[in-house]
């Protein structure tokens, strides 16, 4: 059985279409990534799954319940971490955990047991009495995750959980997610970071409210047709301008200190040599394997 099944989902805000004809399926005990830039519709999709938004067309089935008519059943069985930090900042770590446990009617003995487990991975126990507002960004996110897990949900929905969190805490957060998956929990997570996308079992690429790609990260990358080259120069701006005249803007992408060039056919060594003589500052041009980000950017065009 699928933990989540979405069919031809369309969500509109007035006349603005936020999501159109989205289809996806999530199997148990998997990390499912919703990948896309800001404004792609990730939050709208997550809120719809959590029964927080009414949708106009299609269907959403969460853990076998219909999101439009069985919101209460779904809400009792899932855990949700909104994009914006939404715990009570003027309550302590312990008080927040206890409040959410009681909201889900977890009895006290069970709550204590569960809290023990959650403290183990979050390492928040030494801060139990600290006010939530005084925690660091990484700790806040771990606490939010703990609160979403206090009632032992089968499925958790995490909306950009690592946004604005330092790199070390991000790595730690993902380690926790893998551990949860090993415990049998299904995870739907959205992220704007491509390196996180490759840690998911399956991903869906969203762009302007539409699905532009779906599958495992490896499948998505192996679906790549064509060649990818990395070019470097001391003056990247000039190189970019030069390549624009040769290969067209659509096939170029600035990547930090290099430029990625997409080509349908292999570039001959003669051609590269030609470029080098025409543009002496070109330092290197080598073929590389495309990463998640290359794939995504290519698909967006």
């Amino acid at each position: 059985m699928n933990v989540l099944k979405i069919k031809e989902l369309s969500v509109r805000y007035g006349s603005v279409e936020a999501l159109s004809e989205v289809d996806l399926e999530v199997q148990p005990a998997m990390v499912y990534g919703i990948i896309g830039p800001d404004g792609a519709g990730k939050t709208t999709l997550m809120r719809s799954i959590c029964t927080l938004l009414p949708y106009q067309e299609g269907s959403i089935e969460v853990l076998g319940y219909d999101a439009a008519s069985q919101a209460k059943e779904i809400r009792a069985r899932i855990g949700y971490m909104p994009q914006r930090f939404s715990l009570y900042q003027d309550l302590s770590v312990q008080q927040n955990l206890r409040f959410f446990a009681r909201l889900f009617k977890v009895n006290h003995a069970e709550m204590l047991k569960r809290r023990e487990q959650l403290y183990k991975f979050s390492r928040l126990e030494p801060f139990a009495k600290r006010l939530t507002g005084n925690l660091s960004g990484g700790m806040k996110q771990k606490l939010a995750l703990s609160c979403a897990l206090i009632h032992t949900p089968e499925l958790i929905i995490l909306d950009e959980p690592t946004f604005g969190v330092d790199p070390v805490s991000r790595v730690e957060f993902w380690q926790i997610l893998h551990q949860l998956k090993a415990d049998g929990i299904s995870i739907v997570v959205s992220t704007p970071y491509m390196d996180e996308a490759s840690q998911c079992d399956k991903i869906v690429l969203l762009h302007k409210g539409r699905v532009i790609g779906q599958g495992s990260p490896a499948e998505t990358i192996s679906g790549w047709k064509g060649k990818l080259y990395s070019l470097t120069s001391r003056d990247l701006q000039k190189l970019y301008a030069f390549l624009q005249t040769k290969a067209g803007k659509d096939n170029l992408q600035l990547f930090g200190s290099e430029i990625h060039l997409f080509s349908e056919q292999e570039l001959s060594s003669d051609k590269i040599a030609d470029w080098q003589s025409e543009f002496p500052e070109l330092e290197s041009c080598v073929e590389i394997k495309p990463g998640m980000e290359d794939v995504f950017l290519r698909m967006m065009q």
Binding site: I78, F99, L103, K105
Partner: protein, 360 residues
């Protein structure tokens, strides 16, 4: 069925917020005290030490008795003799005299009429000065006019102290304002901070959230009422003639009505700012103008009279004046109490229906 344990969880959480948030505590305790003191002293409508010019042509025992009766009250003060050289009209113009009393030559013998002239550039004060003067004249047992012996008896507030009027009124005004603010801000803050989104993704129902929000503030509202009452009695010497338990019971109902009004506001307002404006707008002026606090309901146009039925304070004013000044019991107040209860229930139902369990 609403779950009692969930209501308790929300109510307890609310108490933590209140204890940690100094802003709420200021609204709850400091604002009422400040209002009471500012309103209390600014709205003092009593008139004391009115400068009175006496022109006694009789100079006999009767006339002296009458002048003494005026001077022996706190209301009038004789204009010093040396000013008497000036014309009375001039004294009025320079505001050195506000009233003048002319006693004719044969006063006490063949003549029983005296002339009282009052500066009526402030009509309210003039009216009051006239009332005081009549009261004084009556108390001396001298007939004011041939054949007419006017005697008024003033009940419940024989000295016409304005504190008797404004302290109960202020309790009604402050309670409805503070309580409507508390619940409306408390819910709109959760919307603004995003915490509402988090708690909505749980099996919690609208009724549970609303009850959980109202219960802690019921206790605070009652506490507030007691503080205002105590300060009002201490600072302004207002009597409390009724039964304390009757006061508690009906004040509980009024606080509940006011909190439910705040809940209703919160179903519309999306931000704390909007909630604050709406809660104040719906309580401050309507309570001041349409509850019978400032202006008697019986002298309003019919349309406005009908409007007073939906103002909670118009019921509570009957109640609080009744308890404090007249010593009313439950039997005399139950209709007003039932009206408050009915309004609470109605507003709670509407709020629960309008409360959105989804984001809009």
């Amino acid at each position: 069925m609403p779950s009692f344990s969930r209501i308790r969880a929300i109510a307890e959480k609310e108490v933590f917020h209140i204890l940690r948030d100094s802003r709420t505590l200021v609204i709850i305790f400091l604002m009422p005290l400040l209002q009471l003191i500012i309103f209390g002293y600014a709205m003092n409508m009593e008139i004391r030490q009115v400068p009175l010019l006496v022109d006694d042509l009789a100079m006999n025992s009767s006339s002296r008795a009458l002048v003494d009766a005026f001077v022996n009250t706190d209301y009038f003060q004789l204009v010093p003799k040396e000013a008497g050289t000036l014309q009375p009209d001039e004294l009025f113009r320079e505001r050195r005299a506000q009233a003048s009393l002319s006693i004719p030559k044969d006063f006490g013998a063949s003549e029983h009429r005296v002339l009282l002239r009052i500066d009526a550039s402030d009509p309210n004060s003039a009216q009051m000065i006239q009332n005081y003067a009549l009261g004084i004249v009556n108390s001396t047992g001298i007939q004011t006019d041939a054949g007419i012996d006017l005697r008024a008896q003033i009940l419940y507030n024989p000295d016409l102290k304005s504190s008797f009027f404004f302290v109960p009124g202020l309790i009604a005004l402050i309670l409805v304002m503070v309580c409507a603010l508390l619940t409306s801000i408390s819910i709109s803050r959760e919307k603004e901070m995003g915490t509402m989104e988090q708690i909505l993704v749980s099996p919690v129902s609208a009724t549970e959230i609303l009850f959980g929000k109202v219960i802690p503030y019921l206790v605070l509202g009652l506490l507030d009422a007691l503080i205002i009452l105590a300060v009002g009695m201490l600072l302004f010497q207002v009597p409390f003639r009724g039964d304390f338990s009757v006061f508690l019971l009906f004040t509980f109902l009024y606080v509940l009505t006011s909190l439910c009004l705040g809940l209703l506001v919160s179903t519309v307002a999306k931000t704390q700012q909007a909630a604050m404006m709406m809660a104040l707008g719906m309580t401050l002026l309507p309570t001041l103008l349409l509850s019978g606090y400032m202006f008697p309901i019986s002298s309003m146009p019919v349309i406005l009279q009908k409007l007073t039925y939906i103002i909670p304070a118009s019921y509570y004013l009957q109640i609080i004046r009744g308890i404090m000044l007249k010593g009313n019991n439950i039997a005399q107040l139950y209709q007003a109490g039932l009206s408050l209860l009915g309004m609470s229930v109605l507003m709670l139902i509407v709020a629960a229906r309008r409360f959105k369990l989804r984001l809009s």
